[in-house]
Symmetry: D2
Subunit: 201 residues, 4 copies
């Protein structure tokens, strides 16, 4: 049974709420089991038990919250060194004030989380523009939710972003389900799908 | 039958040679059919007939060759506007002089190709560090081949990079094979795997 | 007398118009001379005669227009190989539909132009958030102008973006003016400002 | 008198040593005063007293050490909200194992620090390729030092990287010196260099 874990850091509760909606979307893919956890409560084993990881952060100064970075350095790096996440599935989401109307640095913030997932050897799931609500709240790298007015007053997650967050969670769960039946948990299962013979060096 | 297309631009033949090796790796995944084409010969239909796209470029001034960018603007953008590549599979590779020993801008060059694939809604396949030869010729975003000495004299593709290129082609083909049997060609097949009901907006 | 060149590619005239406003801002810095040119008309010597370069593009599929990339590969790369732009001043701007409300890939598009400028050894001028109009039309890497409604209908450059474009042009011109009196045209003038003695290797 | 502060996080002492060499380079620019501090000891006022900031990190999982990110979130963000660093000067450096021969993610790690500096409105100083030692240890975004063999055994900072680190520190100090005499400490001094009049909105 495919397992999805949604991990988030939150300042004012926006990313926590976004994580819950992402998790809700993942749960609606049949046969998938989902957990949703604040970053400080997540152990190496929690990640290791999962076929897919969804990571969410507030955008701080054009990058992730430092709590996400500590999780990467202290928890995920151990899985990296042993190649334990190779071929599993990853996706990212973020919330932020988005000062300036062009995302306020959310693109590089999302890329810094996807970069870690690429280092882990994980298959990356972006956010297609035909997802419901994309025109008002999306970015191709993942779901981005702006929780502020143009005058930077904080707002809740706008309703029009909810379908987008759900869809993103569901897409990640779908890709996880594709490969989850394999003994290796990896989309790159080298034992069963090819007849590759190395011929040089 | 899963179809993979390898598309490249080349200056001195290095990226062309790399593309051939990537294609060779993809071919060795059982049941996969592979084409390898110079960027100027690739039509919209060629891409549309494929379950996976591998895109390769020389690194020029920290970014892709302009021929790759023209292909993106003139061929891929039409597929983007109609959402025709959503849920298909993508991967990238690059060659370069790598002046400075830190990749010479290959990371952002690869990201600019992955960015297009993310805009297309494609699932992205990185390069796991446990791939053979990674320690001497890899980057997590895809296969990178340095074709120069530290004095910037051009060299052929080093032998130790061949397994890496093959493995990358094979990984992309494996992920393509996972979802290729579906009628939609998409890893996000929304018709069969979930019971998602939108409840808001 | 400090020379600034504004170079742009344009599809529908938006980036051309933005370039004119950026140039207008640069001109208002006292003592600065400014040219504004479409990318296809710019030679190596035009760039070489300038203390500062402002480069502007429409955002296409999360990256620059291919015409900008061709200019980089065919014109700027020659200046790179001879280190002729080291210590000069650069800045970037972009226009786009901005689908999704988070910039639609403008951040990586701007970075791919700044990357080239960094390769050239140029000092990079970002866009401070205390610039007039930033809250509605800015990104920290440079001026970004969204020329579309949320339904993706094309619009002209919004009036609220004009001060931002001018300010960005002016900032780049100001930094260019700081170092323009030097014989080397470089902000890193190694002949006059330090007593550095290499002591190793 | 221009003030430069070098701020670093370090795991095994490599980045600390690199910071000392960067600081040494900055000191050799005449008239410049330099401090070098571990990230945990740096206050808001330390940064505010400086005309230039050099930030250095080990590369962890394709991004900065979490201690650097905490410094950004807890110290620099306060300066951002009040626009106190606008027009000052910034540069970055990094050390790492560089697994794979293509920098191991150092490019995005450096960009995440430059992104913060751009958000602060700082002028960014890259590393020109005609710097001594660049061919063996440079990246255009800043100085990168590989402290490992291709088999990932740790090494000290190679001697051939020392001139590069010094040159980078010196370049940042030179640009800081250009504008340090101004009352605003900003390279964008809006009070003295232009006759800009806003004419719209």
């Amino acid at each position: 049974m495919p397992q999805v874990i949604v991990v988030y850091e939150s300042n004012y509760g926006h990313t926590e709420r976004a994580a819950a909606v992402v998790a809700e979307g993942a749960e609606q893919v049949s046969g998938v089991s989902v957990r949703c956890r604040a970053v400080g409560q997540v152990t190496k084993d929690d990640v290791l038990d999962s076929n897919a990881l969804l990571l969410g952060t507030p955008v701080h100064m054009g990058s992730v919250h430092w709590g996400i970075k500590r999780f990467i350095d202290e928890v995920l790096s151990g899985l990296w060194s042993q190649d334990l996440m190779v071929g599993r599935v990853g996706g990212v989401f973020a919330t932020g004030g988005g000062l300036g109307g062009a995302g306020g640095g959310c693109e590089l913030a999302m890329l810094s989380m996807l970069s870690v997932m690429a280092e882990l050897g994980m298959v990356l799931v972006p956010l297609p523009k035909n997802s419901e609500g994309f025109a008002r709240g999306g970015l191709h790298w993942g779901a981005y939710v702006r929780c502020a007015t143009s005058a930077q007053a904080q707002t809740d997650i706008p309703d029009h972003c909810l379908p987008l967050l759900r869809e993103h969670g569901a897409n990640v769960a779908r890709v996880a389900a594709l490969s989850a039946s394999r003994p290796t948990r990896s989309a790159f299962d080298r034992t069963t799908t090819h007849t590759f013979t190395r011929r040089s060096t």
